[in-house]
Subunit: 132 residues, 2 copies
DNA sequence: TCTTTTTTACGAAAGGCTTCGTAGATTTCT
DNA sequence: AGAAATCTACGAAGCCTTTCGTAAAAAAGA
């Protein structure tokens, strides 16, 4: 029997911030991530380092140790993480009712005409392919 | 100058669960809340009590001490809390782009024809009233 | 009355997240 | 070579959240 690889956990807040940098920049060093984060919120270098080490343990990132300065790669897609977080919120506060979440989302960030059009198109797509 | 009353903080997970009971049942005692929660997840009575005491301190609920058995009232609306949580998620993971959140929401919980219709109506409403 | 139950108050432990300081190794610069 | 900078590893503190145990007061029941 192979070892049971547990599912990758959802990132914490700080971890998510780091993943976002990796998704945007691509594989990066601790220094690069730290600098990207520091522009928004000053923080210690070793803080980023420690977090990224933890993330490697958790399987959120992959660490390339070929050179002395390690390079970190995201190991889960933005889409997967977004899906997980949205499902969480959906379950925790909206009883899984997607339309109630959408209602609030449309209320919270004001929606441009463009965005509305995109959403309509998406609805068409869903209903078109759905036989229920 | 009046004392500066700080804004009510967003509820934690356990606090949210309690608020949801209060929203559904209306003003309730610790016992009632505890029983409502215990059906889903067994937990100690004093756990609910402690949480509700903390929530009263934070201003999330109001405590009526007229009788020995205190009665707790929600002090923020479901709508306000939902708005806050959605905005959080929006900022933290979607750069404030509501349509990206909606996209994921529509993907996460599968959407019924009914829900789709509601969302369309909502979009109509927004675009109708919006002069941008 | 005396016992049992209900209720509040309080303290504190356990776990998770974030942050940082320090140490040691390696590389780079002068 | 010697000094300075860079990098990883590690431990631990501080904070927050959740959970529960214990104690004391009040009410209800026998």
């Amino acid at each position: 029997m192979g070892e049971a690889k547990d599912p990758i956990p959802s990132p914490t807040d700080a971890e998510l911030a780091i993943l976002r940098v990796l998704w945007r920049r691509g594989p990066s060093t601790v220094r690069e991530v730290h600098e990207a984060l520091s522009t928004r919120r000053p923080t210690g270098y070793t803080t980023a380092l420690k977090l990224m080490q933890i993330m490697a343990e958790k399987g959120l990132v992959l660490r390339d140790e070929a050179r002395r300065t390690h390079v970190y790669h995201p190991r889960i897609s933005a889409e997967a993480v977004e899906r997980g977080l949205v499902r969480d919120l959906l379950d925790r506060v909206f009883d899984g009712a997607a339309d109630r979440l959408v209602l609030r989302a449309l209320g919270a960030g004001r929606v441009t005409r463009d965005e509305a059009a995109k959403i309509r198109a998406l609805l068409d797509e869903i209903e078109g392919g759905d036989a229920s």
